[in-house]
Symmetry: C2
Subunit: 448 residues, 2 copies
């Protein structure tokens, strides 16, 4: 199976520090490669993969201000679709823009919707709902107006988040410093419980940081670590009593929540978005309504079994689960392709009012149904392999370069008696070419 | 000839007040329609045309903040390319994003480059240089790294800009209020010449307006009209002594310069961008180096012949000139299409290692060359019309549904003896399918 994996260009894949989408893309890609899937990763030129890397943009635009995102993103997307015929399937993890190129290829496209940044982007997803396949990253992030082929939670590399038996003595905020993320709620909870708060993450909203976070930082009660890279992440997460994830929007998924639980650290979160789906209330953390309830939950956090947090992640949120689930999605799409048949498959080359041209590929030992058509004649030319064809009461062997006419109404059948693929070009002539003008008299696959 | 004309979504086509790209698109579209070209205009849903209107986005995003430009622009562009097969040619007047969809259709794409907003967008134009056709809007705006099929100046509707014999008593600034446009230079020139200055245009840089323009507005020496709609434009332009176009960047074209000259009002401009190409120095205005020279030029402006300004526009800058020039470009592209031949044309349906499938369409009374191939056999099936084919020393008439084999090396020819199109499907089998494996023995069109 040949997969094209389309990653964003905002950060390297995998990211050097921050970059959740690129992180997920990398974990999935590497695990698929480990499972012998042939994956070509379309990402920035400095990306790292054990699969094949394809790139047009050398560096991530978040790390290089000379790169115009609008320019390089469309070149990046056009490149994967230019090469679409090389792949069985394209997995789009880039957001909506690639959808508008999906109509120009017959290669199926799976899109992981990493959340809706705004309701204003919904029209694109609705427009391509019928011709592409959407994967939700949580049940709660599903939009009623879209169809989804699956919900697949993100998975993490648990070896990067070793379990710690003993609970630490501090509360932790881990994420971007932004009002939506509720850093001020975490500070309030820490103050009221008398526990130390450690804050880790990049500042996304500078004014918010200066007004509502920085004045509380004293190194004793409230400590700010800045952005924490992959190495230090497990230490900070594992050493906490609990992660405070008191966020003010419906987060579609929470990678840091799962990473925290992997280390054994339970999570206290507001009842919003995917939190009730990820956290088992009273087992791996607490789902709360407000600051009062969060303060109360902190008092019960030490009593939770840190092993249960780890176990739950091992059972539900590893990259192996994620990769197996995506592989199932890929397989189900490839099995259902419109032009696939039990005997092989076909490709439509041309359709006009009075004629249609197809290429048929018949597997060794297989044969099409014994059939006839009322509104079209057919003409077959074998181009490789060998055929045994039935036309009326004749049985005719055909070698490459040989051809035969099937008059309108004549009973006919194609058999591949050999042990290599039979390829033939079919020219249909008539005034109607629909699949419902197939009258099957006999079929190895019991189709009507 | 069927043309898809792709307009931006920023403003209505034609624009209600401001919107230079949409203005040019509208003038070209309507004139092509008047010349019996079948034009489908892809623009906002509220656009006006005597051609066919196609739209996915109801209103322009500059007039409706609920419209997400990124979302609707990609849907808009994808729509024209989804319908590409319906058109002989797509004319892109949208900037660079449509280029990245151009690889998914065989319909030729012409792109008018309305200037480079930044050097950072050049990579997209370079990438698609070989497969699309660029039109420059002035010689000066050409980029050395790109190939252009033509330079076509914008044309205006001169009936909207009636000529005025007598020069007015004020100087005019006409354009967006932005430091690049040199409003402050115009104010300085007016002050030093003692003449009144009239300023017309939308404020694009509010701080600049407040600091460098507004303090001078007194209604007597300096007057500000705000944005001036299409009706009042000719009055303001025609009533001036001269237009001051003292801009600080290399403007690729200047519509208001041409509109001013159409009214008979000469233009004083800095020697930058397209100005020396549009203004005939000493005849329809003056090209100057700085404010001192502009002040001096104002003194000579009244002596210029206002009829000469009008005449020059009539001879070089009408929408009729523009439309004829674009029509020439369209025709030259369609004549050179790769799959067009003197006898008709063909379409490639499939190309594999060991076979290739084509549809051939032969015009009535025409015939292909008498030819042979060394590395491929061919098999022809007539699907409509009638054929007379030569294979070796045989002449074989073929009706729809009938077919014939052409062995490798056999001399052959296809003739359409009838008076309707002959359509046939050709299956080539061999190991090489290049055009250089055609050995022509005789040809009606003297090809080697």
């Amino acid at each position: 199976m040949k997969i094209a994996m389309l990653s964003p260009l905002s950060w390297r894949t995998p990211p050097r520090h921050y970059g959740p989408w690129e992180n997920v893309v990398s974990l999935l890609t590497e695990q698929l490669v480990a499972m012998d899937v042939d994956v070509t990763l379309f990402a920035t030129g400095d990306s790292l993969t054990r699969g094949k890397l394809a790139w047009v943009c050398e560096r991530p635009w978040s790390e290089d201000a000379t790169i115009n995102p609008k320019v390089w993103e469309c070149l990046h997307i056009a490149e994967v679709f230019r090469r679409a015929d090389e792949f069985d399937l394209i997995h789009n993890q880039f957001d909506f823009l690639p959808l508008t190129y999906s109509g120009f290829t017959n290669t199926p496209v799976v899109t992981t919707i990493h959340g809706f940044s705004s309701p204003s982007i919904l029209p694109v997803y609705k427009k391509y709902n019928d011709r592409t396949h959407y994967v939700a990253i949580s049940e709660t992030d599903k939009n009623d107006e879209l169809d989804y082929i699956a919900t697949i939670h993100h998975g993490i590399d648990i070896t990067q988040f070793p379990w710690r038996e003993d609970a630490g003595d501090y509360l932790l905020f881990f994420g971007r410093i932004h009002p939506h993320k509720g850093v001020h709620d975490a500070i309030e909870v820490a103050r009221r419980t008398g526990l130390r708060l450690v804050i880790a993450g990049i500042v996304q909203d500078e004014a918010y940081f200066q007004e509502q976070v920085e004045p509380h930082i004293d190194g004793t009660h409230v400590e700010y670590l800045g952005s924490v890279g992959p190495e230090k992440r497990q230490e900070v997460l594992g050493g906490a009593l609990a992660l405070l994830h008191l966020i003010h929007f419906d987060e579609p998924f929470g990678l840091s929540v799962v990473e925290s639980m992997a280390c054994g650290t339970p999570v206290i979160a507001y009842r919003r978005g995917s939190m009730p789906e990820i956290i088992r209330d009273g087992h791996t953390g607490f789902i709360v309504a407000d600051v009062d309830a969060a303060v109360e939950a902190v008092g019960r956090a030490a009593a939770l079994d840190r092993r249960a947090c780890r176990d739950d992640v091992e059972q539900r949120f590893t990259f192996r689960h994620m990769a197996r689930a995506y592989l199932d999605v890929y397989r189900s799409i490839l099995d259902q392709r419109e032009n696939h048949r039990p005997w092989g498959h076909y490709e439509n080359l041309l359709e006009r009012d009075d004629h249609k041209v197809k290429e048929l590929i018949v597997k060794p030992g297989e044969r099409l149904s014994l059939q006839k058509h009322q509104r079209r004649a057919e003409h077959w030319t074998v181009v490789s392999g060998a055929a045994l064809v039935t036309v009326g009461d004749r049985e005719i062997p055909l070698m490459p370069g040989q051809s035969v006419d099937v008059p309108m109404g004549a009973v006919h059948r194609i058999t591949n008696p050999g042990d290599v693929l039979l390829v033939l070009v079919e020219v249909q002539m008539g005034d109607y070419f629909g699949e419902d003008d197939i009258i099957r008299l006999e079929d190895d696959y019991d189709r009507s």
